[in-house]
Subunit: 220 residues, 2 copies
């Protein structure tokens, strides 16, 4: 290799290393602090300058996409497993538990599931796909008679918003609290339990709430 | 009145007016921003200087006590009504709805119910009293057979932590979402719905979580 080529290879290797260090640092800080973790703290933890972070990820949304795309892909994979479960209720309950457990792994991912990242269309496409699977999982569980007839997919968005609040308040002191909460909530979603309930918010209202949360956290 | 006396009366009236203006401003900002609303913004909204605020309320805890003591008293009063309800389940459900609705009225009060304010013993005494009533309300509903046998008072703390997360994420876009969520959660607490659940966190763990939240929000 000519010296200039060798230098290019080294520079590209450095860039790839920096990029990965930034993603790892972001994942760690999002987990501890939430999606609004300051970019300069992420750069510091990754041991890169702010300019380097900005060169790799020109916006908060771009960084969130790099950190969380595979997380949403895992959600979609889990949804596929839920749909393949021979017992529709069991598949539904397992998927709800999967989502709530995922939220318990970090404050960032807890919010990611119910926060619109407007500037990261690749994340929002994955979210749409995850949502479509969820609708199918719920429809199957309802058709089987096990999931209450008045359940709507927005109910799961409310549950995840609630669980995000719970995990952020219990992460250190009672890290298993989400399991108890999720089990009790699932019991409330069974047909056998249903006694009627206030009307759910519409999908548009839930989407507005998710967008507002994105705005709050700096992802508008 | 001698001029000096008249001046004293005027000064005392000014002080009382300032104190009330600070409390009103704090209530408003806690509602919008949460319990960690900055004191200097509260002073600005109340149109007083930081020194005046500090003279009336030497700590965040003292200010929170002035704002929220009557709120906790209302919780205790509501608990008394729940205990007087001839239908134990109805009393229990009404009290849970009362608490969740109270949380929906502002971010500060949403957190107050599940945040220890260590430096305000008067609030913590009221909280103890509210907790004792809750234990009695739940025991009565359990004895009637309507509330699931494995319910423990800590479950309600988890529900309120969850609802705090929900109301903070839906306040603008779906302000009635808490009603739907609370109804579904209550269905999950009925004996008829119970299918077994993960063990609840102990009371000590929930108290640690409430203290940690207080620390996070600046009330240690």
């Amino acid at each position: 290799m000519a010296p200039a080529q060798a230098r290019d290879v080294r520079l590209r290797a450095d860039a790839a290393r920096n990029r990965q260090a930034i993603i790892d640092a972001a994942r760690q800080l999002y987990g501890r602090r939430g999606l609004d973790a300051p970019l300069d703290e992420i750069a510091r933890l990754a041991r890169v300058g702010n300019a380097t972070l900005y060169r790799h990820f020109p916006s908060r949304c771009a960084l969130a996409a790099a950190v969380f795309a595979d997380t949403l892909q895992r959600v979609i994979d889990a949804a596929g497993r839920a749909l393949a479960d021979p017992d529709p209720w069991h598949g539904f309950a397992a998927h709800v538990r999967f989502l709530c457990e995922l939220q318990s792994t970090g404050r960032g991912v807890a919010d990611l599931l119910i926060t619109r990242v407007s500037g990261a269309p690749e994340l929002e496409e994955l979210r749409e796909s995850a949502y479509a699977s969820l609708v199918a999982i719920a429809a199957r569980a309802q058709a089987s008679g096990a999931l209450r007839a008045d359940f709507v997919p927005e109910d799961l968005a409310l549950l995840l918003m609630a669980n995000a609040g719970l995990v952020s308040r219990t992460a250190e002191a009672a890290p298993q609290a989400w399991r108890r909460f999720t089990d009790l909530a699932l019991d409330g979603l069974r047909s056998a339990a249903a006694t009627g309930a206030a009307p759910p918010p519409g999908r548009a209202a839930v989407q507005r709430a998710m967008r507002a949360r994105g705005d709050d956290l700096g992802y508008s």
